[in-house]
């Protein structure tokens, strides 16, 4: 019998209620596993994490490696990285996927370095090539292009994935999974970083991620003053306002509004996009927008090609025009 191939997903449950990234990656891992005849495994570290183990099984994990120990109660990058590295050495998974939460972005490079393997940050898609290798698709060259990256010689193949990139599978209570307890190793080093305080402080205004209508503005809005008009439109449409990175950098709006790889993923029913060129780092977060209206002076802008309705015009004029039209058309 040949050795079982495994795809591992490191379970980042601390943010369970804010970010379902682990469930989303498990869903994608299931697709990849099908193509390579591999087993989908979740890896959970913590203290009394039973409920999470069950949750991961219900969302596609066929096996769950669990180290459950009071020592692991607080998230500690160095300890978790040590443990994850030790487990990878012992069980030799083909692939290790980690959610690109901030904690995930800290632990992944450390594990990759210890294992001397490659790591692709912020993949927008994952696939399998004809040799069964993991193809990691990540934006490159300033967002104009997507690079397909492989890790030919070292294992595991590692990638981080931003929350919102994949859709989780429905919860399946009937799903069965094998739980493999792994005791804390004796060699566990004592933590060199002491956590004095850790309090939940949910970020404000997460509404843009779930809003049915989102209005995004880019550099083409022209100025901070003109950008504000998008908020008037948002009031009428019951919409949330998002922005591209140059707009955030120019301080026309707070960084909470950033839409894209480095910001929020959105999935509105209707997206209005004003003066946005459509760089991949921005559009990667729009894949789930159902109906897109784009306004741009340049008909060849990528954002215009992505749109259902592309209006070749000045963004400010169209914004004012829509405000005027809505005032006439909304029935109270």
């Amino acid at each position: 019998m040949s050795v079982e191939k495994q795809i591992w997903v490191w379970a980042d449950y601390r943010n369970y209620f804010q970010s379902r990234v682990t469930l989303q990656i498990l869903a994608r891992a299931s697709v990849l596993a099908e193509k390579t005849n591999a087993t989908v495994c979740a890896v959970v570290f913590g203290d009394q994490v039973d409920a999470y183990v069950k949750e991961y099984i219900a969302h596609g994990a066929q096996k769950v490696y669990v180290t459950d120990d009071p020592f692991l109660k607080t998230y500690n990058v160095a300890s978790y990285a040590f443990l994850l590295t030790a487990l990878v050495r012992r069980f030799a998974p083909e692939t290790l996927l980690i959610g690109a939460t901030r904690f995930g972005q800290e632990i992944a490079p450390r594990v990759a370095k210890q294992l001397e393997t490659g790591l692709t940050a912020d993949c927008i898609d994952l696939d399998i090539d004809e040799n069964g290798q993991l193809v990691q698709k990540a934006p490159s060259f300033g967002g104009n292009l997507v690079a397909k990256i492989i890790t030919p010689d070292t294992r595991p193949q590692m990638a981080t994935i931003r929350p919102g990139t994949f859709q989780e599978l429905p919860h399946d209570d009937e799903a069965k999974g094998e739980v493999i307890p792994v005791p804390l190793p004796d060699t566990m080093p004592s933590p060199r970083v002491r956590c004095l305080k850790s309090e939940l402080h949910p970020a404000r205004a997460r509404k843009i991620e779930t809003a049915d209508i989102v209005i995004t503005g880019g550099r083409g809005m022209g100025s901070k003053g003109k950008f504000r008009k998008l908020f008037d439109l948002a009031d009428l449409l019951h919409a949330e306002v998002g922005a591209t990175r140059p707009v955030v950098y120019a301080d026309w709006v707070s960084s909470e509004a950033l839409v894209g790889q480095a910001g929020k993923h959105i999935r509105p029913k209707v997206l209005f996009s004003f003066g946005v060129s459509g760089a991949i780092q921005h559009t990667a977060a729009l894949a789930d927008a159902r109906f897109i209206v784009a306004v741009n002076k340049n008909p060849n802008a990528t954002m215009m090609k992505l749109a259902d309705v592309a209006m070749v015009a000045d963004a400010n004029q169209v914004c004012s025009g829509i405000i005027r039209a809505l005032k006439q058309r909304i029935r109270d």
């Binding site: 601390r14 943010n15 804010q18 990058v77 160095a78 939460t101 901030r102 972005q105 800290e106 632990i107 992944a108 490079p109 450390r110 990759a112 370095k113 001397e116 490659g118 790591l119 940050a121 193809v135 300033g142 104009n144 292009l145 997507v146 690079a147 397909k148 990256i149 890790t151 070292t154 970083v193 002491r194 956590c195 305080k197 309090e199 402080h201 949910p202 049915d212 449409l237 019951h238 140059p246 707070s254 960084s255 790889q261 509105p268 029913k269 209707v270 109906f291 209206v293 990528t302 090609k305 992505l306 209006m311 070749v312 015009a313 000045d314 025009g321 809505l326 006439q328 909304i330 029935r331």
Partner: protein, 285 residues
């Protein structure tokens, strides 16, 4: 005396490099370089720590690995108040991935700055945004590290760090030597970088002593090559394709807006959860 090392990277001034649609290549040569904004915040943090200590109690070394032109940002770092600038440059370092970058920076710190107490990096560079170099450098040096700091405070021989990660506000502490990465997207303006004083870069330029080290000076193996040591390989690069049937509207704004509402008003009104008058000719307006 506290020796602070700040790792700074040169990045292109614009995020979207000019791209030649005909030849399908990037016009990299036209891109101007600047100091990575996140590393700039790290330098600001170092300058503030130094200012908070007594005279001659702290010294700052700015180090960068990059092409010869990256020397500019080191002059800038000196103009801002760094005591030393060091450029690690060698064709054999080109194409380094984050592991190799961490290896090279680590080699410099271990062999040439044995007294390093605090190592600061940006959390995430503006051009590659991997956020990997800091954590991997900590692994390389085998020292404790804390990422995404928004405030630092020296308390005797240890450093206290406040950070906001994944909706958790945390206060952490570690002994020195240690590595801290400075949050690039923090809204408080504690480490908003200062401006270079008028004539400052010129003055630093005239003082002219950026230390340049190649692979040999750094003590790298003869057969070291960063590019071939990278475990990941790019197999293809493509332009993301578009799928939609798209309708292009041109002409007078009023007419376009009316077309939008007349033809697609139902979609918009259902997303709004409000009723819209969608067809002018139905006599609604």
């Amino acid at each position: 005396m506290l020796h602070i090392i700040v790792c700074i990277k040169q990045v292109p001034m614009v995020s979207e490099l000019p791209w030649d649609a005909k030849t399908g290549t990037l016009k990299r040569e036209t891109a101007q370089g600047m100091m990575d904004p996140s590393a700039r915040r790290a330098l600001e943090a170092a300058l503030q720590i130094k200012a908070g200590m007594g005279k001659n109690q702290a010294s700052i070394t700015a180090v960068s690995m990059g092409p010869p032109m990256a020397e500019e940002i080191l002059y800038e770092a000196k103009a801002l108040g760094a005591d030393q600038g060091v450029l690690l440059t060698d064709p054999r370092m080109a194409g380094a991935d984050t592991c190799m970058t961490a290896f090279i920076l680590g080699k410099f710190i271990t062999d040439h700055c044995p007294d390093a107490g605090l190592i600061l990096c940006g959390a995430m560079s503006s051009d590659s945004e991997t956020a990997q170099v800091g954590p991997q450098l900590a692994e390389e040096l085998d020292i404790p590290a804390i990422g995404y700091a928004r405030r630092l405070e020296l308390v005797h021989d240890c450093i206290r760090v406040e950070r906001h990660v994944d909706d958790f506000m945390e206060l952490m502490e570690m002994d020195l030597p240690g590595l801290v990465t400075i949050d690039h997207a923090d809204e408080s303006d504690l480490y908003t970088p200062r401006y270079v004083p008028l004539g400052g870069v010129e003055a630093a330029f005239n003082a002219g002593d950026i230390r340049i080290m190649d692979g040999t000076a750094l003590g790298l193996n003869k057969d070291f090559n960063a590019l071939t040591s990278s475990p990941t390989k790019i197999i293809d690069v493509y332009s993301p394709v578009t799928r939609k049937e798209n309708r292009v509207l041109t002409g007078a704004v009023k007419k376009m807006v009316d077309t939008l509402f007349d033809d697609y008003g139902k979609i918009i009104s259902s997303a709004m959860g409000k009723d819209l008058k969608t067809h002018d000719h139905e006599g609604d307006v």
